[in-house]
Amino acid sequence: MADDLIIEALRVEAQAPPLIANISARFAPGLLTAIVGPNGAGKSTLLRAMAGVVPTQGTIRMGAADLTALRPAERARRLAYLPQVHELAWDISVADMVALGRFAYGAAPGRLSAEDKAAVDRAMAATGCIDLAHRGVTSLSGGEAALACLARVLAAETPVLLVDEPVGALDPANQYRVMECLAALAADGRTVVAVLHDLSLVAQFADTVLWMASGRLAAQTPATHDAFAQHVPALFARTPVFASDGSSALYFRRSQGT
């Protein structure tokens, strides 16, 4: 089994105050961790810092390997990252775009090994993108683009997967398909970290939760009813209601008098 992903004293500064400060946490293989917090809490910045795409102070390591010291391609073979916003500059096909996920293994569009092709096919099947393969990426809807970009990140087949709001643009069927896919990857022994806003999905799929507020880590807890009852009102000033059918689903009620 792979090593835990460990972050210590992570800090990202744009200007004062820092975007995130003093964040330490541990992410174990086999678990799906949700990062939860209000808008502007620093969730995306934390994911960017862990992915190594913003200048960051602090430690990010897996076992003995210091991820910040690795060459970009070596890091990309251990850790894949799906940004929140999908920039697709040219009208390349979905299949070519997903194949870019194999870059760290020496692949390029039109130059894929059998292993690369198999990984691309698996990723497209898992996200339901096979029918989109020959579409140009600039003609995709928001949800289709989100699925195709997730496929690209899955194609890297890394031990660690960092995804920023993977279901924000998706319809309910696709939301559950993607969450089931992420949960299956975690069950398969990968370390999956997802920024999620839909707390009902968090309650149903996540194993642990990082609760964030104002650029700091409020707590890291298992995804239990007690944890939701304690942290959700503190972070969002709303009280969650748990479904009475015994599932983990939860929802919120409209405020009185509105």
Binding site: R48, A51, G52, V53, R71, P72, A73, E74, R75, A76, R77, L79, A80, Y81, P83, H86, E87, L88, A89, W90, D91, I92, S93, D96, M97, L100, G101, F103, A104, A108, P109, G110, R111, G136, T138, S139, C149, R152, A156
Partner: protein
């Protein structure tokens, strides 16, 4: 993809043969045959000393501009980028005109090409240091725009202080862009530099493809963004500087060639590089042929024809993008 490159290369070869065989009296295959047969000394002078360097210059400059345009568009993820946008062409033109202004070009024949390359090298150095320091691509483009404006202002200053009408016309002529009266010696000096720049750029093919995703996602997939940026800036700097040294300022080929080949390269920036170079060469060889056979009193300049044909295409691309058509 290889088929596209072969097709364009074959078309370039045909266009080059046509250009070699065409003179003021029209197409003369017999002159061509005389030269190849080795029994016509006049044909050898006309073809080997006058037409061949001219056709080769047009091809080499066109290839350089097409390739640099494709690479810069991939780097900036903007189909309107070209060597001019980073100010390298303007700085190279300034370097060349400075040698004309101070009379160095008249004293020492290699002064002008050296001046152009020095201008491009200086601009490239400034851009490379900016590429190391800046985070985003937009700021690098703005540095280029600033550099371009400064070079333009200094050009205006030189024209302002031109000592007499003759040197003014010399200076203006240089800025129009042409491959007339080039020698094989001029080519021998500049073509290797263009090749060096081209090798820098071709090495970045896969990196340019990955940059389709934007810099953060590309970096997460394992791209060394800073090194890629420096290599592309250096490659375009060297290749563009040498091209300007050979032909002066020739615009728009760098925008038009990649735009035209993109539908056949599946819009992939990496696979757009080589066909853009072939098509750039083809376009300039044909444009120079047109310039030679048009019966004007003063020969029309290649740079002028390129701008007259290229500017409307440029505007069309802008308008199509504005209507929300797919990018590129």
């Amino acid at each position: 993809m290889t088929r596209l490159n072969l097709t364009l290369a074959a078309m370039l070869l045909l266009a080059a043969m046509l250009a070699l065989a065409t003179g003021p009296d029209g197409v003369s295959p017999s002159l061509f045959a005389g030269w190849l047969g080795g029994h016509d000394p006049a044909a050898a002078i006309i073809l080997a000393d006058i037409r061949l360097p001219r056709v080769l210059s047009a091809a080499v400059v066109g290839a350089s501009l097409g390739l640099c345009g494709a690479a810069l568009q991939g780097l900036t993820r903007n189909p309107l980028a070209e060597p001019g946008i980073l100010g390298v062409s303007a700085a190279a033109t300034l370097g060349a005109t400075l040698t004309l202004y101070f009379g160095l070009a008249a004293l020492f024949p290699w002064a002008l090409p050296l001046g152009a390359i020095a201008g491009a090298a200086l601009a490239t150095l400034l851009l490379a240091s900016a590429a190391v320091r800046t985070q985003g691509m937009a700021s690098l483009i703005l540095v280029g725009v600033g550099l371009s404006s400064l070079a333009g202002a200094l050009m205006a200053l030189i024209l302002n202080f031109a000592p007499n009408p003759f040197s003014l016309s010399d200076l203006v002529n240089w800025t129009l862009g042409s491959v007339a009266n080039r020698s094989l010696a001029d080519l021998a000096m500049t073509a290797p530099l263009i090749l060096v720049g081209a090798l820098f750029l071709f090495a970045q093919r896969a990196n340019l493809s990955l940059l389709t995703l934007g810099e953060p996602a590309a970096a997460a997939h394992g791209l060394d963004v800073r090194r890629t940026r420096i290599a592309i800036v250096a490659g375009t700097g060297i290749a563009t500087g040498a091209a300007v040294a050979l032909a002066g300022a020739v615009g728009f080929v760098g925008i038009v060639a990649p735009h035209l080949v993109r539908p056949w390269t599946r819009h992939d920036p990496g696979r757009t590089l080589a066909p853009s170079a072939w098509l750039g060469a083809l376009l300039l060889v044909l444009a120079d042929l047109v310039v030679r056979i048009l019966p004007t009193d003063n020969e029309l300049r290649l740079g002028v024809v390129a701008a007259l044909a290229g500017a409307p295409v440029f505007t069309l691309i802008v308008l199509r993008r504005g209507r929300g058509a797919s990018r590129g």
